[in-house]
């Protein structure tokens, strides 16, 4: 049986599933329940500096993008960081860590971008006995208007500066949580590393508006007659998060920097994606908020079963396995040729492949043969784009068949070649090497 325990930049936990800093980790009551359910760790909801607590709205904090069956696709929030006294939070962190010594307890922190603020809070946090700190440079709403959260995460120089303060004033491992609301995620990650960060975590939430009420023509969610952009998360953001994780994992400047993956993780399958692209731990919020803490048991069981089925004995053996499969477009092999293939035995004749291809792609799928409804790929037209695979309602009915070397591509009349041809060397590229 594969072992799920991890050592993430010196922070140990019995499994890689942590609750992200968010409403589910707001106080001891919730965290105790999470640990009872089996979560390997928690990142405590972001602490603020001592003084009058943060104030939240007294109306809708959450909005959702729902499928027709009301399964939740995307989720957004305008809740701020903890609105409880710092001292209460610190006492609870201390007590919880004492009761659950094998679990990872990480304190998320957000204080003003002033050295004395960080200098003041860091020793008090360390004194709780927690395992590490996460710097909240990602929260995109509310606090960012006050120069904190994403406002810091969008300026690499600030990231490096604050990270360095934390490394100076604390012995705890420092995880820098990054905002996706930037144009190139590699820059803030490099800044974190330059500041001495032990790890990065990403993604925080994405700026978002969920919609407009068709009756009142007010944006939603709204507090009374106005709303504001919130942070978007949930299943819909996973592809964006995976891209950013992979970018940091394959950037020579940050390769090897531990990554805690966050963004749309609701199952072991999602966790697998993040771990294979370089994450050493994963953080979950939305799935817990939809299904409750018990959901971690399905994630643990599924991941362990997968590792066993692949012969991996630990999470570490899976970590990063897919990083090498991510590259730039210019390095893709333009000599590889694929054609769609429709399995007539499992085709249900809905015709979605045909109309998608006919109206919006390459007119490469028939609608009839001998006057009868029949959907078949015309290889002489098919560019192998994969659209039909994606719109087919039957799993596995349409597959992509790669032409064997030497086989003639009926669209171009050229033979598929084993020789690799990248854009960098393509004859049509005026900037090709040697041109």
């Amino acid at each position: 049986m594969a072992q799920l325990d991890i050592d993430f930049c010196g922070i140990r936990s019995p499994n890689p599933f942590w609750l992200a800093s968010a409403p589910p980790t707001d106080k001891a009551y919730n965290v105790e329940r999470a640990f009872e359910a089996g979560w390997g760790g928690v990142v405590w909801k972001t602490l603020a500096e001592a003084g009058p607590p943060v104030v939240n709205v007294n109306g809708p904090r959450y909005g959702a993008l729902l499928a027709v069956d009301r399964s939740l696709i995307g989720f957004n929030n305008i809740e701020l960081i903890t609105d409880r006294e710092l001292e209460i939070n610190l006492e609870e962190i201390r007590a919880v860590k004492r009761r659950w010594p094998d679990r990872a307890v990480i304190a998320s922190i957000m204080v003003p971008c002033k050295e004395e603020s960080w200098k003041a809070i860091l020793p008090r946090v360390e004194d709780t006995g927690c395992d590490g700190i996460e710097l909240n440079f990602g929260c995109p709403h509310g606090m960012s208007e006050r120069g904190m959260g994403a406002a810091v995460g969008q300026v690499p120089e600030y990231i490096e500066m604050v990270t360095a303060w934390c490394k100076h004033y604390s012995r705890l491992p420092v995880i820098v949580k990054l905002t996706p609301n930037v144009t190139n995620i590699r820059m803030p990650a490099r800044a974190a590393k330059a500041g001495g960060a032990d790890a990065v975590s990403l993604i925080n939430t994405i700026n978002s508006i969920m919609g407009v009420d068709p009756q009142t023509l007010t944006m939603s969610p709204a507090v009374g007659d106005q709303g504001t952009h919130g942070g978007y998360c949930g299943p819909a953001v996973k592809p964006i998060a995976l891209h950013m994780v992979a970018e940091i994992a394959r950037d020579p400047d940050t390769a090897g920097l531990p990554i805690s993956g966050i963004g749309g993780i609701g199952s072991w399958r999602d966790a697998l994606d993040f771990i294979a692209l370089g994450a050493g731990s994963v953080q979950v919020c939305t799935a817990a908020m939809v299904f409750g803490f018990k959901i971690v048991q399905e994630m643990i069981n599924g991941l362990a079963g997968y590792l066993d089925s692949k012969g991996f004995s630990s999470v570490a053996q899976l970590r990063g396995r897919a990083i090498g499969s991510v590259t730039d477009w210019q390095f893709l092999d333009l000599n590889r040729v694929s054609k769609a293939l429709i399995n007539q035995d499992t085709c249900i004749q809905c015709g979605r492949c045909h109309i998608a291809c006919e109206d919006t792609a390459h007119q490469a799928i028939t609608a009839q043969r001998d006057g009868r409804r029949h959907f078949e790929v015309k290889e002489e037209e098919c560019v192998g784009c994969n659209l039909c695979v994606n719109v087919c309602p039957v799993p596995g009915c349409i597959t992509m068949r790669e032409l064997a070397p030497g086989e003639i591509d009926r669209r171009t009349g050229r033979r598929a070649s084993e020789t690799r041809l990248q854009w960098t060397a393509h004859p049509n590229n005026p900037l090709r090497s040697g041109a």
Partner: protein, 454 residues
């Protein structure tokens, strides 16, 4: 038995409060949550097989997608533009042999999208609330058209003609419009007075004058209509029934199933409707099923359908046969009636076992008696042909002959529905007939004088 046999036929076999529940919708309406889930199963197929299977070509993927998008009115519009009786067809169409039979979800999931129930959801949604008119009439043409028969064919025809700007007088022999949907099908298929609700909605378009209690019973009447109106549509249905033609048919307790159902449909209090303790229904079509099931619902101790051929040959669909059996109706096959037994009133029916020989039914030798207090004959309806022959209307297979536009052999006279020799005897075919005739009549009325070739 020396004394005259006393059949046990009486009303009130059930507790008074039991009737309403028993005759409620046998397929309950979808809730909003159910409709949204079900609508999401539709794949929005290209050149959708369901649409091709519908005699009125309702754009099924379109209306289902609109339900999924929360646009119930738009869904209803999409249905009604192809089939103004879409609410009724949603209830009484044998969808299992039409649109739902060819749904691709059958192949993938073993269960079609519930197209009929979704269609009802959409149309009911429109009709239940205050609604803006779906159809506006074209400017008046000044042409007057007579539509004879206010069943599905006549209603569809009248509605389409009114929509095109013509003035329509809609005649019917019965006190109410609706035809078989008001008088002829099981109550639980059109619960809640739906048939009349739909008639009211159809008439809302304006330009249709309904004249009930007018029966076409002479050639002179049709001649007068042809003189007074620019065009005539006949949707007179099948008013006659077949006789068993065996001894004992006149005994008390032997009824036409259509009469039994008609009385049931018009009875304000079902507790007053007499039903036999043991009911035998002879026949194998929808009417036989409707009569047998409703007998059982009225409290008959036993209800038995006896059909001269096998289950596969029954005109009633498999689903209808299942429905009967779920309600405790027994179905006997390969038995033809030989004699209705009894003195004064019926006490049973003697049947002869049948077998096929060179494609023909022949007695197999064995005989069987089924006891009965009430016998309902459901062996088919037929055209009341004598008047129509006098009118000079050519016939084919016992029905009015029409061309592909619904024209009869008589100039300016169109026909459709069960009275013509075309398609199955279903509401949806009748609607399709009414619409195609209206389309052709409209073209003729607009484009010139009546045909002279007759």
């Amino acid at each position: 038995m020396s004394e005259e046999h006393r059949a046990d036929i009486r009303p009130g076999r059930l507790a008074p409060q039991a009737y309403a529940a028993r005759f409620a919708d046998h397929v309950p309406p979808l809730t909003e949550a159910q409709a949204l889930l079900e609508a999401n199963r539709c794949l929005y197929c290209y050149d959708a097989p369901c649409m091709q299977a519908c005699p009125t070509r309702i754009d099924v993927p379109s209306f289902i997608r609109r339900i999924a998008e929360g646009n119930v009115r738009g869904a209803a519009e999409s249905i009604l533009v192809s089939n103004p009786l879409g609410g009724l067809c949603a209830r009484d169409c044998p969808t299992e042999v039409l649109c739902e039979q060819v749904c691709v979800r059958n192949i993938q999931q073993g269960q079609p999208v519930a197209i009929g129930r979704l269609q009802r959801y959409a149309v009911d949604g429109l009709l239940s609330g205050a609604h803006q008119p779906v159809f506006l009439r074209a400017p008046a043409t000044g042409r007057r058209v007579a539509v004879v028969g206010a069943g599905p064919a006549g209603l569809a025809c009248a509605h389409a003609l009114a929509r095109a700007g013509h003035s329509v007088v809609l005649f019917d022999a019965k006190p109410k419009a609706g035809g078989l949907n008001e008088y002829g099908i099981a109550a639980y298929k059109v619960a809640g007075g739906y048939a009349q609700r739909e008639v009211q909605w159809l008439l809302e378009i304006g330009g249709i004058e309904l004249r009930c209690g007018w029966r076409l019973s002479s050639a002179e009447q049709l001649a007068a209509l042809r003189r007074e109106y620019a065009a005539v549509f006949l949707g007179v249905g099948l008013a006659g029934t077949y006789r068993l033609g065996i001894p004992g048919e006149a005994l008390a307790g032997v009824l036409d199933a259509v009469e039994f159902i008609s009385e049931l449909r018009q009875t304000p209090d079902l507790a007053t409707l007499p039903v036999g303790r043991r009911v035998v229904v002879i026949g194998g079509g929808m009417t036989a099923i409707d009569a047998a099931v409703q007998s059982k619902l009225l409290g008959a101790e036993s209800s038995t359908i006896v059909y001269r051929r096998g289950a596969e040959q029954m005109p009633a669909s498999r689903k209808e046969q299942d429905l009967a059996q779920i309600h405790g109706v027994r179905i006997l096959h390969w038995l033809a009636p030989v004699e209705v037994l009894g003195e004064g009133s019926v006490r049973g029916v003697r049947f002869a076992r049948q077998r096929l020989e060179a494609g023909r039914l022949v007695p197999a030798g064995e005989e069987l008696t089924v006891e009965a207090d009430m016998v309902l004959k459901a062996i088919g309806q037929r055209l009341d042909a004598s008047v129509l022959s006098e009118c000079g209307l050519a016939q084919q297979g016992g029905r009015i002959a029409v061309d592909e536009s619904g024209r009869t052999s008589v100039a300016n006279v169109w026909a459709g529905g069960d009275c013509v020799a075309d398609g199955d005897d279903l509401t949806v075919y009748a609607v399709a007939h009414g619409l195609r005739a209206a389309h052709d009549m409209d073209a003729q009325l607009r484009n010139g004088p009546a045909r002279a070739d007759g």
